[in-house]
């Protein structure tokens, strides 16, 4: 991946890349994010877990301002998020996002899905963008599907294309908003494999997921949220074996005992 080649991971590893400070968000009466303090270091993989409606998706979407926040600050690489407009678009180009429902552009081929951003946002030449796109599609294992339309692919394949589309922008950080929640069990693995691979190559990642296996394997840190607040954060090892809060113990008790 060129993003890693151009900025060696070792160079900046450890310095904060995404910083949320005093973030508050309301949806009408619902206090969706309560005084969130979170710092994600360059090269770090942070997994956010918690029960439904705990605000994890909102937190993830706030980082590239798909959700606006009421109070507090979010900075990316030291720069506060801009208001709507060109500056915000430029910032979003630096932040890759993968959605639960894939959201591939339905009227464009797989190849066009991946090249649209580089051509229209980065001003890359078509041939160059296609060459890069084919490499990325090969890397996520769907290179042979390049000429098809999204509806012709399985969910797992679509989600891997969505990852390639985000990577094509050479983002500084990748956000994953429940990337496997809409997938069949056997397709989950193929998507997680790509994500683990990405994590091992030093990509900075914020992953909202219910996949505890992924959290154990790939996460540097687990953040546990409930009712809009961060309740607990720790290494996966510590969190899963010795959760400190009652809320986390209760949650883990429910999901791990089957």
């Amino acid at each position: 991946m060129t993003a890693q080649e151009s900025t060696p991971v070792s160079a900046g590893r450890g310095e904060p890349l995404v910083v949320l400070s005093g973030v508050q968000k309301h949806f009408g009466q619902l206090h969706a994010l309560k005084d969130i303090e979170l710092s994600v270091a360059r090269g770090e993989v942070v997994v956010v877990i918690g029960p439904s409606g705990s605000g994890k998706s909102t937190l993830c979407r706030a980082i590239n301002r798909l959700e606006t926040i009421d109070e507090g600050t979010i900075t990316l690489d030291g720069q506060p998020l801009p208001q709507e407009g060109k500056a915000l678009a430029a910032l979003r180009a630096e932040v890759g996002m993968v959605f639960q429902s894939f959201n591939l552009f339905a009227h464009k081929t797989i190849l066009e899905n991946v090249t649209l951003g580089p051509i229209k946002v980065r001003g890359m030449k078509k041939e160059e963008a296609e060459k890069q796109a084919r490499e990325l599609l090969d890397r996520v294992g769907v290179g042979h599907q390049a000429e098809k339309y999204p509806a012709q692919l399985s969910g797992g394949q679509q989600q891997r294309v969505a990852i390639a589309r985000a990577l094509a922008m050479e983002p500084k950080v990748m956000l994953f908003d429940e990337p496997t929640s809409a997938l069949d069990p056997e397709m989950i693995k193929e998507v997680l494999d790509v994500m683990v691979d990405l994590a091992q190559q030093g990509m900075t990642m914020v992953v909202v997921t219910h996949e505890m296996g992924f959290a154990r394997t790939a996460a540097d840190r687990v953040v546990f949220m409930a009712d809009g607040a961060i309740i607990e954060e720790n290494t996966p090892e510590e969190f899963f074996t010795n959760p400190t809060s009652d809320r986390a113990k209760d949650f883990l008790g429910k999901i791990l005992k089957h």
Binding site: N103, H107, K120, V121, A162
Partner: protein
């Protein structure tokens, strides 16, 4: 029917004018209505409200009143649009009447175009626009490259109805000195009272042909812009 055949030149000219009003006002309405729709779904609150106000104002006003305003009130206010008569396009002069009729039709029809567009935009899942924004497209780019191409399919049936209504609405211009189809039909029936039924049928067939051409074109476009989900 004889009256129509012996005045066939007038018949063709009359429908030529009807088509002329339809094409000019139609294109202007599509352009202005699309801009209004983009403003209505866009991120800037004041423009949302301005576009919504426009739609409320012009959709809820009878077309005849807009015509009366353009034909009678505007010249009193000092806007008679006579300057357009100095402009020559391909050897033809545009009359101020024609120009004012087109403005009246556009003001009215664009409100309906805006709402047809908006129904199409609403039919595109929100995630498509979000995905566009997430890769760094500006609002205008995500509309142009992602949302509107997919909205096209859902837009076509209501938009066709809007355009067909426009074809028929051009007849309101008859009341303001435009010798389009209805005005010419009236003149012919006045002069040939014994042939009213035939004249009426001839003009009805003229309208049916124009409307069918538009309807068939819309089916063809609809097939072309189909998107699989």
């Amino acid at each position: 029917m004889d009256a129509v055949f012996s005045n066939f030149d007038d018949y063709l000219k009359a429908f030529g004018l009807t088509i002329g009003l339809f094409v000019v006002a139609g294109i202007a309405s599509l352009v202005w209505g699309t801009i209004l729709a983009v403003l209505r779904v866009g991120p800037i609150s004041i423009l949302n409200k301005a576009a919504a106000l426009y739609v409320t104002l012009f959709r809820n006003t009878p077309l005849l009143m807009i015509f009366i305003f353009m034909a009678i009130a505007m010249p009193v206010l000092g806007y008679n649009f006579k300057f357009v008569e100095d402009v020559e396009i391909g050897g033809y002069n545009v009359s101020a009447f024609f120009f004012r009729s087109c403005i009246a039709l556009t003001l009215y029809t664009s409100a309906f175009v805006c709402e047809a567009m908006r129904s199409g935009v609403n039919a595109v899942p929100l995630g498509q626009a979000e995905a566009g924004r997430a890769i760094g497209l500006t609002f205008a780019q995500s509309m142009q490259l992602v949302v509107l191409p997919q909205a096209a399919r859902a837009i076509i049936p209501p938009m066709t109805s809007v355009l067909i209504a426009l074809i028929k609405n051009t007849s309101v211009a008859a009341a303001f000195g435009m010798a389009e189809a209805v005005a010419t039909m009236k003149a012919l029936t006045n002069n040939n009272a014994d042939q009213r039924t035939g004249i009426f049928l001839a003009f009805a067939v003229g309208y049916i042909i124009i409307v069918e051409v538009v309807a068939l074109a819309s089916y063809a476009v609809e097939r072309k812009v189909r998107v699989a989900r």
